[in-house]
């Protein structure tokens, strides 16, 4: 209770956290903020940690499924004229792989980690709009199941993850496969937008008192900027997929040049989303790296200002690169030059980040545990991918290697290097916080080396295959092409990479049961999530921390100062000002509700029905309206009165 700063007391007097202390306060808050027992209670949970865990587990399930499709493709391509799968199945496999990895894993995993960690890191008790958070998860799950069940029923999409028209239009893709792709986009992007709004509001208005803008952890800055990118990028692809459904279902001609439409409009809309998407996947990776490095270098991050600046600059610049995906569509060279310029200039903020991280390690006393190994893997792989990206920003080179395996190699280096390596490190880093147990360090090292070696053996040869002219998305090739040895090498690497992931999943499963007990802060880290128990109590903190430093746990080793005065009778959190994080008011936080799940089911049924008949939109409206009415109907709880 030392240095306690009382909060405004404008509500009627009731039981406050100043009236209780120790276990009595903890137990009372845990009861108020907890998720009940029983199926309905669990389905009604609005706890950001419960939903975050579900998001993370679901995203990893989709990563595993996407990995399986990759293994089947690699086995098919291991030797010339192989007959493991036919062209139709292969078309579905690469579409499912890309769509799953980009929409069901790449975007959601960053948001999933944010849902769990951001409220803890900013020192609040729940995410903003917790019921919307629950709704977003159910919508995401529905979209993923919709895509994969369609695939199992042999109506999986087969038009590539970016589903260009006219291939995906009514003339060349009869049946429902392209519709499944288009509507899966609507599901997952709706979910992504909801989470982005929650993160933005949480960061702006729910930070602990004293957490001024320049004390926000870099992890939070990265996911805050990421959320803005999501808000501005995702509507473009939702528009593209909706236009596509309209063309396919009700006969509009938006993408049909013969009737006054424009096929290139689809590409513009898609890539206006698609390039920022790369940064939507990468920025969470930077968040993980910026959290892991100071802890294991045992010093504060070098260049905080430069790193925040890099994040914001990357966020803006990511919207000025999309046309470099369209260099072969016959654009004027002057127009293409603008996008070459921005594509090369984005290397400045990204390079700045890398130098700041290396400087932190250079000046620190690094402890080489598994999370830091994955960060070092990230440096190597991501920088290699960035260098081939600079090559692809050049129109003449891009024109030569467009749609070849060179591009496949490049974007796997960027995406796996920029997201998956830091993510695996992040799971090792925060697993003790999620579960209360440490993961095995020995298996972690096996995991790292198998993934690192397997990845490079799988993907580096693809650069050469591409330069030799091998196009992507071919289900087989003739022996006379001379690609066989390189493809066999890539397949061998892919199997090693896959075995690395099996070790990871084994480590997770074994550590859940038998891992060493972690304690609240096993790594001696400095940010606020490590002030909470492992795993955190439902209320996160018994009293809201008062922040005086960027690494509060390092600055206040004797014990964090706290702010007091919040209710111990109902769910309440403190709202603070945007720049200075000064306490402004107390706000009730929503209680568990089953209505977000009901609303998600109604929305899901409407979305799925609408690919069969436009009338489904009309039939779906009453259930959606009923669910939303139930959701918002006053229930006489403190939440309604605050």
């Amino acid at each position: 209770m030392s240095d306690a700063a009382p909060l405004p007391r404008d509500l009627p007097r009731d039981l406050r956290d100043t009236d209780l202390d120790g276990p009595a306060l903890s137990e009372r808050l845990a009861r108020i903020w907890g998720t009940g027992r029983g199926v309905i209670a669990r389905l009604s949970s609005v706890d950001h940690k419960v939903i975050g865990r579900r998001y993370i587990a679901t995203a990893f399930l989709f990563l595993f499924l996407g990995g399986l499709t990759a293994i089947v493709m690699r086995l098919q391509l291991a030797r010339p004229e192989n007959g493991l799968v036919g062209p139709d199945t292969y078309n579905q496999l690469f579409t499912m792989h890309g769509s799953t990895m980009m929409f069901l894993f790449g975007v959601p995993i960053g948001e999933a980690m944010a849902v769990y960690l951001v409220p803890l890191m900013v020192g609040t008790r729940n995410i903003a709009f917790p019921r919307l958070n629950a709704f977003s998860y159910w919508v995401y799950l529905s979209g993923g199941l919709f895509l994969w069940i369609s695939f199992l029923l042999n109506i999986g999409p087969d038009v590539g993850w970016f589903a260009y028209v006219p291939l995906s239009g009514p003339e060349y893709s009869p049946g429902k496969r392209a519709d499944v792709w288009a509507q899966m986009i609507t599901f997952t992007e709706l979910s992504g937008l909801a989470v982005a709004v929650e993160i933005i509001v949480t960061v702006l208005k729910q930070r602990a008192p004293g957490m001024t803008l320049d004390r926000i952890p870099l992890f939070v800055w990265a996911l805050f900027v990421n959320s803005f990118i999501i808000v501005f990028a995702l509507p473009a692809v939702m528009l593209a997929s909706t236009f596509l459904i309209l063309d396919r279902l009700i006969g509009t001609q938006l993408f049909n040049p013969a009737e006054g439409g424009d096929a290139l409009l689809f590409q513009h809309l898609f890539w206006f989303f698609g390039h920022p998407e790369v940064y939507i996947i990468f920025l969470p990776g930077t968040a993980f790296v910026s959290a892991i490095i100071p802890t294991f270098a045992r010093r504060e991050i070098f260049g905080y200002l430069a790193l925040v600046l890099s994040l914001i600059a990357t966020g803006f610049l990511s919207f000025g690169l999309w046309v470099h995906h369209m260099f072969t569509t016959g654009l004027p060279q002057l127009g293409a030059a603008f996008f070459t310029a921005s594509s090369m200039l984005i290397a400045i903020p990204n390079g700045l980040q890398i130098f700041c991280w290396i400087a932190t390690l250079w000046d620190g006393r690094p402890v080489w545990r598994t999370p830091l190994l994955f960060v070092c893997g990230f440096f190597f792989v991501f920088v290699a991918g960035g260098l081939s990206g600079i090559m692809l920003a050049s129109v003449p080179i891009d024109t030569q290697v467009h749609d070849t395996y060179f591009v496949v190699a490049h974007f796997h280096y960027v995406l796996i290097g920029g997201n998956v390596f830091p993510l695996l490190g992040a799971i090792y880093y925060w697993f003790p916080k999620f579960t209360g147990r440490l993961m095995s360090e020995r298996l972690g090292r096996w995991n790292f080396w198998l993934v690192f070696v397997g990845f490079n053996v799988a993907f580096f040869p693809m650069h050469i295959s591409g330069l030799m002219g091998m196009p992507r998305r071919v289900y087989t090739y003739g022996p006379e092409m001379g690609w066989g040895d390189l493809q066999m090498l890539s397949t061998a690497g892919a199997l090693v990479l896959f075995s690395g992931f099996l070790v990871f999943f084994w480590n997770v499963a074994a550590s859940l049961r038998r891992g060493d007990i972690a304690g609240p802060n096993p790594w001696g880290a400095g940010t606020l999530e490590w002030a909470a128990a492992s795993p955190p109590a439902p209320q996160n903190f018994d009293r809201i921390p008062l922040v005086t430093h960027r690494e509060p746990l390092w600055a206040e080793r004797a014990g964090l100062p706290v702010a007091t005065g919040l209710s111990a009778a109902y769910r309440e959190l403190v709202v603070t000002s945007v720049a200075e994080a000064e306490p402004q008011l107390r706000e009730a936080s929503p209680e568990p509700s089953i209505w977000p799940l009901v609303a998600a089911l109604a929305v899901g049924a409407t979305f799925i029905g609408s690919i069969f008949t436009p009338h489904a939109v009309l039939w779906g409206l009453p259930p959606i309206a009923a669910a939303l009415t139930g959701w918002f109907w006053p229930k006489g709880t403190p939440e309604d009165e605050a």
Binding site: T212, P332, L334, F338, I348
Partner: protein
């Protein structure tokens, strides 16, 4: 206006730089065919104008950044390095980011404009 120039505006560069760059990206992309048809360097001219917009935003941020700490707006705000980990100077951080972002985006716009000196807009 004079008061604004004297006191500065911490976040001005944060808005002006990216907005000018977005205008350059979209405006100059649309001007390519016009450049070709009229044989006039509209792309370069627009880029020059938008560089000034970006730099003006950076100037306002700089004025704010340079204000003495005692005249700053946040109680308890102190002078010192922005990298000092105790923080507590949010407006100064925003002003510094404003200056640097304005410079970065002025550079990006300059490169856009330089393309207009090389190409006429008619090349395919």
């Amino acid at each position: 206006m004079r008061r604004l120039l004297v006191r500065g505006w911490p976040s001005a560069g944060l808005y002006a730089g990216p907005v000018a760059w977005l205008a350059s990206t979209q405006g100059n992309y649309a001007l390519v065919s016009w450049d070709c048809a009229h044989r006039l360097p509209a792309v370069t001219a627009l880029a020059a104008l938008l560089i000034l917009v970006s730099l003006f935003g950076g100037l306002l941020s700089w004025r704010s950044y340079r204000r003495p700490p005692e005249a700053a707006t946040v109680p308890g705000q102190r002078a010192g390095s922005l990298d000092a980990p105790d923080g507590g100077r949010p407006h100064r951080l925003v002003a510094a980011m404003g200056v640097l972002l304005a410079l970065l985006f002025a550079l990006a716009i300059m490169v856009h404009g330089a393309a207009g000196l090389v190409f006429s807009g008619c090349e395919r």
